[in-house]
Structures are given as structure tokens and as C-alpha cells.
Amino acid sequence: MELLDGELELRVIQKLEGHTDRVWGLAWNPAATGVTGMLASCSGDKTVRIWQKGPSGSWDCSAVLEDTHARTVRSCAWSPSGKLLATASFDGTTAVWEHVGGEFECVATLEGHENEVKGVSWNASGSLLATCARDKTVWIWEAQPGNEFECVSVLQGHTQDVKMVQWHPFLDVLVSVSYDNSVKVWTEDGDDDWHCVQTLGEASSGHTSTVWALSFNSVGDRMVTCSDDLTLKIWDTSQNPSETSGDGCGSWSHLCTLSGYHDRTIFSVHWSREGLIVSGAADDAIRLFTESKDSLVDQPSYKMLVKKEKAHDMDVNSVQWNLKEPRLLASASDDGTIKIWELSEVSK
């Protein structure tokens, strides 16, 4: 996509303070439109905060979801309808909150993982919820009437801590990334029979250390992963894994590796609707990447557009593009703050 021709910069719109410990994760509400955007943040202070843009244009904390999780809340995710928020915690549970009027109420608590739950993700239709934990498993839950959730599968295969799970933007295909350096792709064989159809490990040009996060592009034919090995990897995910011939060869493949840009662990990565990849790392910086103009069809190349050093005073744990306004970005840090950024051209 042809973007801005001029030099770009990330400008801070506002710094959101309130959490009393490091902020681990962020999630923009997909349903909130217009001037009233809504952002959820989760923290080591055991709470989840909801931030909304008020009539004055500034972001304020409109709700604090507390007294539910007994330990760090590591990750949060909105359902596609924007009415439910799932929160994953080190206390081993995943809470589901319903948003009615300005209030949030915990309507379900999903138990089962043996230890810290690290990630949570809703599928495109909102009918399935996936969670992952340090117990090396990924659980799939089915949403039922009356805010009931039933576990339909426990996926085993990773040999270590699973750091994050993410559904494909429109297929019921689940991807998980782990401390075991691999990326696993899971699909259903009909009738709740979920299994791993592909493992993208070191042998498939995969990462050589813990993989922390993944993100699909808006059409779902590309995926980016980030790792402790200081690289970002782009993968071709255009083939539907459920339709593979089943000869053992997975259909997704490595396209390109972005190395030399980061010198500390990359914790978060997110692909915007306009094709911009944002990364948040342990060197307190935020970087933006895009496919370069001289990129070839079978050998794409990416370049760094912007490097925002000292974006925060400490590690950046999460970066998320706003789903409606593609130039708006939120970042969360160990310094306990969240920053809202706007990508704009440098005025000449």
C-alpha cells in the first residue's frame, strides 16, 4: 500500500498513568467507533483498566477491574462484538467480563490451567476462546449461551511455556508461540478434534530463542513473529492449513527475517490495517517496518520506517494499532505507563 511519501514520526498524544506496577498488555475494543475509542490495559498490579476518550478529547480511565485476579494480569482480549473482555492471569484463571452501560461485571472464570496463563485470544466469530500457559498447553473453550464456556480441547505439543496464542483473522486456525523457540499451527479436523498441523521451528528457518508474539496482517496471508533472538520473521500464511494434503508438509513458509534492527528482546509486534508492522522491545524503543518498494513477489523485503528511542523509560511490553484509526498506536511499558501515539509526516 502506498503510504505517506514524506518522513514519518511518532508523536505522543497522551501518557496514561494509573497502574501501580508494570503494564503487560493492551487491547483496543473493536466495536468502539468514532471519537469514543476504548482501550483495555492489564498489569502486574492485578487490575485491568479501561481507558476512553472523553468529549474533551483526552483519554481518561473510565473503569478499574479489580478484586478478581489474585496475581498479575498478563493479557487481555476483546471479543469481536466488543461486549466481552477476557483477561488472563498468573493466578491460573481467565476471567470474562461483560460490558454493560459503563460497567463491567465478571461473568465467567475459566479454570483448568496448572499455572500462569499467559495469553488469550478470541476467534473471528467470537464462538471460540483460546488460552495458553506455562503448563505448555493451549486450551480451546467454546462460548455457550448465558456466558458459559466449555473446554473443548487441550492442545499438547509445545515442550515449554506457551507465550501467546492468536487466531487467524477469519479462519478457525490457531497459532501459538513458545519458550521452546517454535511456532505451532493448530486446526480442527471436524468434531472438536484439534491437532497441530505444522511446527515452524529452527529447521523451517524459525527462531533460535523464545518467540514472544505474533500478528497477522489484515487479510491473513502474512504473519509476523518476534523473538528473544532479536529478529522479526515474516511468514507466508496464504494457504489454508485445513486444506493441506496431509503428507506431513505444512503449507506455511518462511518469507523473510528482519535482523540487525533490535539489540534486546522484542516482546510485542502488531500489523496494522495499512500494512505497517510495529515492534516493542526491551531497549525501550518502538520501531515501525513496512514492505519496501523494491520488494519481489517471492522474495519480499522489509525496511524500518521509524525508530522511536526512549519511547518509554523502561521495556516496552505491548504495542497495538487502533483498529479504526490506523495511524493511532498504543504502547505499554514496565514503567507503569501507557502512551497513545500518532503516526504523522514530519512537517517540512
Binding site: 502486574g44 496475581r71 498479575t72 498478563r74 511455556d161 519458550y179 528473544d228 531497549d283 523509560d313 514503567d335
Partner: protein
């Protein structure tokens, strides 16, 4: 490990902002040493500061050793090479600290716990924006890579430190009376 803790206490006190107060720096001693393996500081003054810091800290640990001895090991820590010259590398320009420690036995199962104690000590001693890397000295532990990976996984460390039993043990190890 005890002396590494003393070292860290002194490190906190001797941070760059306090270095101007040091006036017993030995230039000839500095010249004799090899450069650190961290990225070179952008200017000679910063390199000087890091070296100065390390030298002073090492002198202090040698002094403190006279007052404390690990009952399990009658040898000095220097003879055992538990604490070597490269134990603490500081690059204050990029606010980086790397601690290298040597477990006394190759299969020491306490390696992860020792590393965890060091991490907590450093967290409490250094300003929050400092980046800390902890590792076992290369070639000194059977599962070196696995130990290093755990010790440098921020999320795993955070989860471990929420364990009250573990924190109790770490706090006991770090009580000043325990190692002074």
C-alpha cells in the same frame, strides 16, 4: 555468591553520579587491564568510569572477604574463581550491567536460585531503568544455556517472584547480616 552481593551493594553506591568522589583511582592498574566485552563506551571518560568502578568494587570485596568465609569452602573465593575479574561489567552510558557468576560445582542445582537472588539484589540496588543480564560463567555449568535462558526471561522471573515461599527464601539470603 556472598561476595557478589557485597559487590552489588557497592555497585549501587558507586554509580556514575557518585564516581567524581573517588580519588584513589590507579591509572597504571587500569592500563594493565583488558577491555570489557560489552560494546565500547563512546568516549574514554565513560570507559574510565566503568573500569574505575570495577577496580574499586573489587578492592572492597577483597577487604570484606577477610570478615566472612563460606564455611563449606575453606578456600578463598578468588582461589575457587567464583568471583573473577569479569564478574560485573558496567556500561553506564547505556545503563547496562552484566553479572557473570560461577557456581562452585558444575551440576550445581542452586544455579538458578543463586541467579534469582542476584537479580532481586540488583533490582533493589540499581535505578529501575538499568538493563541487567545475568549469566553463569561460560563453561562452568552442565546446563548453562537452560539456566541463562530462565534467568533472563523477564516474564518467568516476574512469575517466580510472586511465589511467597520463594521470596521468603530469597529475602533471607539477601539479609545484610547473612553476608556481611
Amino acid at each position: 555468591m556472598h561476595c557478589l552481593l557485597v559487590l552489588i551493594d557497592l555497585l549501587a553506591v558507586l554509580l556514575p553520579q557518585n564516581l567524581n568522589k573517588l580519588n584513589n583511582f590507579s591509572y597504571s592498574a587500569w592500563k594493565r587491564r583488558q577491555p570489557t566485552s560489552l560494546p565500547p563506551s563512546p568516549n574514554k571518560r565513560s570507559a574510565l568510569k566503568s573500569r574505575c568502578l570495577l577496580t574499586t568494587v573489587q578492592k572492597a570485596y577483597k577487604r570484606s572477604w577477610k570478615f566472612h568465609q563460606d564455611p563449606e569452602h575453606p578456600y578463598t573465593l578468588e582461589e575457587l574463581k567464583v568471583v573473577t575479574e569479569d564478574s560485573i561489567e558496567v556500561n553506564d552510558k547505556i545503563s547496562n550491567v552484566r553479572v557473570t557468576f560461577t557456581p562452585t560445582v558444575e551440576h550445581c542445582s542452586l544455579a538458578t536460585t543463586i541467579g534469582l537472588c542476584l537479580r532481586v539484589k540488583l533490582m533493589r540496588s540499581l535505578p529501575s531503568h538499568y538493563k541487567v543480564d545475568i549469566r553463569v560463567a561460560p563453561g562452568t555449568h552442565a546446563t548453562e544455556a537452560a539456566v541463562n535462558k530462565q534467568l533472563n526471561d523477564k516474564e518467568r522471573i516476574a512469575a517466580a517472584l510472586e511465589n511467597p515461599n520463594l521470596m521468603y527464601m530469597i529475602n533471607r539470603c539477601l539479609e545484610p547480616t547473612y553476608y556481611y
